[in-house]
Assembly symmetry: C2
Homo-oligomer: 404 residues x 2
């Protein structure tokens, strides 16, 4: 039996490496960046007008001038111009290049405008408070050559915007592993069949495929009966064709739970078998060279916990992602759990108006109860050293549903 923390360390010591690839920017969302994003020019690339209004010389305003004749209009997208002399103003649009010689922008709301034939005169009602008011100065956000986004970041709309701005129409990203999801169990029938009274449908493989799809990882689905020969021949083939194999079931204490011995026979080296936790205790992990096998238990809730706690973070770390922020939440009621095991307590989360995250324990029906998982936002990780967990105590959360 391996402690939860030790299991995490073993996984970190055996990360995968699936290489790199190049994707078009339009398909890059969710991928993990394998190159830094570098500013190809200053950002902003010029002194950028930040408000519709009038560009003036701040010195002239400071000297007491409040009335300006407007020399011309500077539109966004027009090349840089020059203020003909400091007693004149230039009408400017948001996004325009600030005319040379102008050192402040007065908003259109802050002037009175008179037109007299083709002449336009402004009277400033609210004087600029400082030089460079309403001007986004060249290079203020980033200097040319500066790193804007580091390698190893998962691409969200924020990074996509940066990539577009620096002209990256393709991006170097980490390759996703080829994954096979394999369910086991004679009691399982395909989902489009009507099960006999002693059978159930194969939902576990769909759960895992959906988890992987959330990470933008495609996978293939297989099923094998509780039969040593069938297991050996299918797994031998999959070890050849895939980077990672995720199985469900056949790793527990029963006499038909033959997967660990089948994997041993196929020279997959066992690194973890049984973790001091509930649910998910029977979990098995091993490798054969650069191929990795996670053999998860067969219970739906165990699969969710093991995937989120171990498989997901292993995949992210293997693709170069830094660990995500650990969320903490406070228990809403006392919980007693006596076994010396880490207990992953299913909870419903709520964010209180005082800024605290609270976790309401869900009345669990054991690790077979997938239907209750539809109410579950995540699992509170309760450490094995204690057996009474009091209301208001905070514990780490393993998020089942992404919060938005």
């Amino acid at each position: 039996m391996t402690a939860v923390h030790d299991a995490e360390q073993i996984l970190l010591a055996h990360l995968g490496n699936f290489g790199e690839t190049t994707v078009p920017l339009a398909d890059a969302l969710g991928h993990i960046l394998a190159e830094p994003l570098i500013a190809d020019r200053d950002f902003p690339p010029f002194n950028r007008v930040a408000m519709d209004g009038f560009a003036v010389s701040f010195d002239a305003v400071q000297a007491g001038q409040t009335r300006f004749e407007v020399a011309y209009t500077q539109f966004a997208g027009a090349p840089e111009s020059t203020l003909p002399n400091p007693s004149l103003a230039v009408e400017v649009m948001t996004g325009a290049v600030l005319p040379k010689g102008a050192t402040a922008v007065v908003r259109i709301e802050d002037v009175a405008i008179q037109t007299n034939g083709s002449k336009k005169i402004i009277d400033i009602k609210a004087m600029p408070e400082a030089e460079w008011q309403h001007i986004h100065l060249q290079g203020y956000d980033r200097k040319q050559g500066g790193c804007i986004v580091k390698q190893g970041v998962r691409l969200t709309p924020a990074e996509i915007a940066v990539a577009a701005s620096i002209g990256k129409s393709t991006l170097r990203v980490y390759h996703r592993p080829k994954i096979a999801v394999v369910s086991t169990g004679n009691e399982l029938v395909p989902i489009d069949q009507t099960p006999l009274s002693h059978q159930i449908r194969q939902s576990n493989a769909y759960t895992l495929q959906a988890f992987l799809a959330e990470m933008n990882i495609a996978s293939d689905r297989f099923h094998m009966l509780d039969d040593r020969n069938e297991m050996e021949s299918l797994l031998a083939r999959l070890l050849n064709d895939y980077d990672v194999i995720l199985t469900t079931g056949s790793v527990s204490a029963g006499s038909v739970d033959m997967l660990p011995s089948v994997l041993a026979h196929l020279s997959v080296r066992q690194l973890i078998h049984k973790i001091e936790q509930r649910p998910g205790k029977p979990m098995w992990f091993g490798r054969k060279g650069l191929k990795f096998v996670f053999a998860l238990p067969g219970n739906p809730v165990s699969i969710v916990v093991c995937f989120l706690k171990y498989v997901r973070s292993w995949l992210l770390r293997s693709m170069g992602v830094e660990p995500e922020m650990q969320l903490y939440a406070s228990l809403e009621s006392d919980i007693i759990f006596k076994p010396k095991l880490t207990y992953f307590l299913p909870v419903k989360l709520s964010s209180k108006r005082n800024g605290s995250l609270e976790a309401q324990p869900l009345k669990g029906h054991g690790s077979g109860d997938f239907a209750n998982l539809v109410l579950c936002d995540g699992f509170l990780e309760l450490p094995p050293e204690k057996s009474i967990f009091y209301s208001d105590e905070p514990y780490p959360v393993l998020l089942y549903r992404a919060l938005r």
Copy 2:
């Protein structure tokens, strides 16, 4: 000018309706369910063995019997059997049907096993504490006909697992709208071109497309110059071909900001123009029959705030999704903001070990500063009635990045 809350009410009064469609289960992740998921049988469908071990009569154990001869083995996937008489035990595997007549399961760890030829005898070391121990009773999770997942729920792995279990190989979901994303501005060049010194690349449309892709909504991208005829002809065509149009720029106070008048000319009825907020004040919203236009400002940060606050929630509500949980976070330092506007303060979030979510204000460089958005987790919504916001006060969070 419309208050933030009033703008939300106007949007709710003008939701879209994009119809329904059917998708295969394997493609259903992220879609929104347009039918409830109903239990097609009891869950579990039979008295299900929850631990590898031995099924016995609890009455026999209570009467003092501790030694049992094992009659046979009941495997998962085998039809229901019957305990030949209450003084015998049946070896059972997790997931098996509990034999008729058995009323408790003793774990394999809790017995001593002797084999004598073909005879197997167990001595129970830890007596079952209650009837039905380690048995997941038929219908305990859900009765046949019961609703497991309601219509209007976004499909995560949890709901995919349920759908698989009840044999739904296809699902009825809400149709996604056809969306056009249109940038405006003469200063913008395509991302694969090298901009001149007064030009910048078209990043805003990529940001919006990435936001939509996160919601599994595909979109098409267009650009139009600051030219009334070009705008009118493109928008007339898009109003015909798309359900929703998102534009960026040309809605502010400048003389080239002609989009509102172009939309009026195309008979798009204005419902919102200018919201009492920063950034994002110039936002415009209108409809023409069943077609909807969100005209967002041109600044990168304004676009992010307006999309998250208005467009995203409008799309979700239009597709039948219930409002998401509102997150709150506490300010980490004092903030002064004097204008009588709702202020969306960019923040970095951290979850403290006491279970509270804290928001560290990011030094903003104004609404043009997209590069700082890579550090931003979300925006704290600071109400217009106050101008000093003290450290430790909690406020609602608009999440930019999904938390996991």
